[in-house]
């Protein structure tokens, strides 16, 4: 049901030409996505999506609109090529997805590899009951270090780009402030 709503909002985003409306719709999209993630038991991901996707992304997008303009002037591009390309890609992925196990089955390959060990040992190893936290900060800590490096680099990039902008006309309200790691 929620997934269907997501699809409807996406169609609205494609059709809407006022960029302000598009930004608000993408905030709606993020909240729907967070709800879907809660239903899928991914509570940590849902919290991050609600704060980062619906919060920070929307603010950054609005700041950009403030610095540029809000109307998308071009009407529909008259070419069928993008639609055909997208459909062909979609059919190819759908064909591949037929081999995936049905939704929600406990004996799929994904649940039998390394995860039982995480679930069984996490309290003994890290004294943290939340398995997502223990994997993120302990078992896979180096990945998280790499992730923070990416955010740091992106922040530097945004600062360098916008400092050039500010030198010219004193504008600039966009910030690449890193969210939670």
């Amino acid at each position: 049901m929620l997934l269907t709503l997501l699809a409807v909002v996406t169609l609205a985003i494609i059709g809407q030409r006022n960029l302000f409306g598009v930004v608000i719709l993408s905030g709606v999209y993020s909240f729907l996505m967070a709800s879907v993630l809660i239903v899928l038991d991914a509570v940590d991901v849902a919290m991050t999506e609600a704060s980062v996707g619906a919060g920070i992304s929307t603010i950054v997008l609005l700041a950009t609109l403030h610095l540029t303009r809000t109307i998308e002037v071009r009407p529909w591009r008259r070419s069928w090529a993008p639609l055909v390309l997208a459909l062909v890609t979609g059919l190819a992925i759908a064909w591949g997805s037929l081999a995936l196990p049905p939704f929600g089955t406990p004996d799929a390959v994904i649940h039998r590899h390394v995860v039982p060990r995480y679930l069984a040992d996490t309290v003994k190893d890290t004294h943290v009951p939340n398995v997502v936290t223990s994997v993120l900060a302990d078992y896979r800590g180096y990945d998280t270090l790499g992730e923070t490096t990416v955010i740091f680099t992106a922040g530097i990039g945004v600062m360098l780009l916008l400092r050039g902008a500010r030198r010219r006309d004193g504008g600039g309200g966009d910030d690449g402030a890193g969210p939670r790691a």
Binding site: L6, T10, I13, A94, A108, A154, G176
Partner: protein
């Protein structure tokens, strides 16, 4: 009957693929750069769904260890996607900073008008 059951078993993947394709379509077909970036982030969120969905176990609960529960959904995709969300917003911010700079240099954020101006010089 079996076809219907198969469709319902894979309905989540159908919607995920639709979101993916819609994002791809926006990126290719729209000339406005802000819209392109929003299409890119729709594509990204569809990948989140693609990772999280197989991790769900029907009847399972969120992966927080508690004596009251025995079946937990798979925590590993959650960790991967947490990283992906944060990296996603970093790339979005960088892309939007580039859009602001392009707007300064060309006075527009439409791809076609930029090509026209490049053709003049």
């Amino acid at each position: 009957m079996q076809a219907v059951q198969g469709f319902l078993d894979h309905y989540n993947y159908v919607v995920t693929i639709f979101l993916m394709v819609a994002g791809l379509y926006i990126v290719i077909a729209r000339g406005n750069m802000v819209k392109k970036l929003i299409g890119l982030s729709i594509f990204q969120t569809s990948v989140y769904l693609l990772y999280i969905e197989p991790g769900k176990i029907l009847g399972g609960t969120a992966p927080i260890i508690d004596p009251a529960f025995t079946v937990y959904s798979n925590p590993l995709p959650h960790v991967l996607i947490l990283t992906a969300i944060v990296v996603g917003v970093a790339t979005l911010a960088l892309g939007l900073a580039l859009v602001v700079r392009i707007h300064e240099a060309y006075g527009t954020i439409e791809e076609d008008e930029i090509f026209e101006k490049d053709g003049d010089t």
